[in-house]
């Protein structure tokens, strides 16, 4: 048997965190169907390795920014699941005080610069966060996530060019799940290998198997070393797949059941579990214990969210301006 690429501890950590995210998202999906979570709700199920393989590389004080498929990224960055579940349920104890909801998770404390709802809007922001670190002489790096659909926004090209010109310490990560809503990558471009977009700016760019947490880890390590070393940005195209619809209201008619099943066979969590099993690093009792532990964390997050209050109406005129006596038009 081939030697495992990482330590037992690392695999166990990956397994536990990815399984937690999976169960958390499954719960969010159920709560959405029960209308206890409202608005739009985009689940991360299937894409877990993209984040797990990156957070096993970066430092706690590194930065992260993403789009609206953003329940998992902040948890990976250290935000407590309670704060995410409370945000989903629009409670004042949520990480954005119930003002942002599913698409707008934020945590300044954990240097998670947000979930952003306008496709591509976060790309220049990610470059800007990196700009500030470079300006301040900090050696932090920024992970800037985007979908394959976001690559079609003009903002990407402007930001890529300046990030290269100014050698900003930002790692652009395309989470290529092959679909932007119902539109496959093939239907939007004739440059199917999205990492090649970086090459027109001479940005070091690479395609990565996003179903393999090990591959994501290695690629992120390479990227982080490059960016932290003052060499400028990197582009990673991480090929992944979302097992669920675009959002909770997507019937998913644009792809076949067979295609989805094919990708489910590459489930990143199953792969890690298999490695653990093959190396006899985990037994059935331990697997059950992890399941129980995760179930308890998810249930606790729901209980916490349920018991928390909605923001009071007086919150309406808070958090819009820093100036605390701003004269709103109130009639």
């Amino acid at each position: 048997m081939a030697k495992a690429r990482f330590s037992k501890e690392q695999y166990l950590k990956w397994y536990e965190e990815m399984l937690l995210w999976r169960r958390f998202e499954e719960k969010a999906g159920q709560l959405y169907i029960q209308q206890r979570i409202r608005g739009f709700c985009h689940l991360y199920i299937g894409q877990e390795a993209v984040v797990a393989g990156a957070t096993s590389v970066i430092r706690h004080d590194d930065n992260m920014i993403s789009a609206y498929r953003d329940h998992v990224h902040p948890i990976a960055k250290g935000v407590h699941p309670n704060a995410i579940m409370a945000e989903l349920m629009a409670k004042i104890t949520g990480c954005s005080k119930g003002k942002g909801g599913s698409m707008h998770m934020f945590s300044a404390e954990h240097r998670f610069f947000g979930g952003h709802g306008i496709v591509g809007g976060q790309i220049p922001l990610g470059a800007g966060i990196a700009f500030a670190d470079k300006y301040n002489g900090s050696d932090r790096v920024t992970l800037c996530y985007m979908g394959d659909g976001a690559v079609r926004q003009g903002a990407l090209h402007e930001a890529f060019n300046m990030a290269m010109l100014w050698k900003l310490p930002v790692i652009f990560i395309i989470e290529n799940n092959n679909y932007a809503m119902g539109t496959s990558v093939e239907r939007t471009t004739n440059v199917l290998e999205l990492h090649k977009i970086g090459l027109s700016y001479e940005m070091p760019s690479k395609a990565v198997n996003g179903m393999s947490v090990e591959d994501v880890h290695d690629a992120t390590e390479w990227a982080v070393n490059h960016a932290r070393g003052g060499n400028g940005p990197v582009l990673l195209e991480v090929k992944t797949y979302r097992f669920r619809g675009h959002s909770m209201s997507d019937p998913g008619k644009y792809r076949t059941k067979e295609e989805v099943e094919e990708y489910k066979k590459q489930d990143p969590i199953e792969q890690v579990l298999n490695t653990l099993k093959k190396n006899k690093w985990i037994n059935d009792a331990e697997i059950d214990a992890i399941d129980e532990k995760i179930k308890a964390i998810v249930e606790e997050s729901v209980r916490f969210a349920e018991e928390s209050p909605y923001p009071d109406a007086s919150e309406l005129y808070k958090d819009v301006y820093v100036q605390d006596d701003y004269p709103y038009i109130i009639e």
């Binding site: 409202r38 707008h104 709802g117 903002a155 119902g182 539109t183 939007t188 923001p311 109406a313």
Partner: protein
């Protein structure tokens, strides 16, 4: 008369105009193979093919500009924004190209284009997905702006918009797409720039447009029980604004409340208020009031949405205030 959904009325308008005129085409995100994010264009790819019903990448700036260029060169594009929140990515081409082209070319180039899609709030979607930019577009000379409130108006006005030789912004609502209303089988057009008196009354004039006009109907019914008679004017077009219909009504009722989903500063309410105080000052028995969204980005929580958006109770309170009751 038959009843059809708002989305069907819009679809019929586009289908009829596309059958009538080869140069009309529909372009936008998910409009073709997905049958429309909100199913407005359902079946249109099947009828017209992919030459005329065209899916785009998520590239609003690009396809808005491609639409304007195509319009300058003889076509009549209908460009769908999945919502007008995303039109901000494209607004340069709408304002700097479409709206200016005829003027800066000294009349040589016209831009017969329609930009359409849903506007304003649509449930708990938080601040980036809940914005009413109706008044932003209406502020711009060179554009015409239509915000219909029922399927009948939507169909007649969209047909006029597609036939119009100037750029038209046509704003709908996700929350109206499923609503049904009477729409005749026979073809009809509704002229751009004409308001409609949707309810006749004697005591107070309510001016509104688009989805939020519903709060006026709800308020008027409640107020009727208390003996207060409301006249409701649906502007339907907010550039140009049909001031005469508003002025005629105010000269009769002597009181005016304007209900709008945009933010208060620089709103259509502000504009109508200016015009009415200028041209009907002596007819007013009370200061003009408005009910708008709160002067803040719309948050996600239901408690805050309730506090922020116009609703029937807020309209009732405003009416009672102008009635001194």
């Amino acid at each position: 008369m038959r009843s059809i959904q708002f989305r069907e009325a819009l679809r019929e308008a586009m289908q009829e105009e596309m059958r009538r005129d080869e140069t009309v085409f529909l372009m936008g995100e998910e409009v073709a193979e997905y049958d429309g994010a909100y199913k407005v264009s359902q079946g249109m790819l099947a009828e017209f093919g992919d030459k005329r019903v065209i899916d785009t990448p998520i590239a609003e700036l690009g396809f808005a500009g491609i639409g304007v260029g195509a319009a300058m060169n003889g076509l009549r594009p209908v460009i769908e924004f999945m919502t007008f929140n995303f039109s901000l990515v494209a607004i340069d081409q709408v304002i700097n190209s479409a709206a200016k082209m005829m003027s800066m070319s000294g009349g040589q180039f016209t831009v017969p284009i329609v930009f359409r899609g849903p506007t304003a709030s649509a449930g708990m979607l938080s601040s980036q997905h809940s914005q009413a930019f109706d008044n932003w577009y209406a502020n711009t000379p060179g554009l015409k702006v239509i915000v219909p409130s029922n399927p009948y108006d939507a169909k007649g006005l969209l047909k006029s918009a597609i036939r119009d030789n100037d750029p038209v912004i046509f704003m709908e609502s996700e929350q109206m797409y499923g609503e049904k209303g009477e729409v005749p089988e026979e073809e009809y057009l509704i002229p751009i720039g004409k308001a409609d008196v949707k309810r006749v009354g004697t005591d107070v004039t309510l001016v509104s447009f688009g989805k939020i006009i519903k709060t006026c109907f709800a308020a008027a019914e409640e107020l009727e029980k208390e003996g207060i008679s409301c006249e409701i004017i649906d502007l339907r077009t907010i550039r140009p604004i049909d001031y005469d219909t508003v002025l005629d009504s105010v000269r009769k009722t002597n009181r005016l409340v304007i209900v709008e989903e945009a933010w208060p500063l620089g709103s259509i309410a502000t504009e109508v208020t200016f015009k009415v105080q200028k041209d009907a000052f002596d007819y007013l028995d009370a200061p003009i009031l408005r009910v708008t969204s709160a002067d803040v980005p719309l948050p996600y929580a239901p408690t805050l949405i309730e506090a922020a958006l116009p609703n029937a109770n807020k309209v009732i309170a405003a009416v009672k205030q102008v009635m001194y009751k």
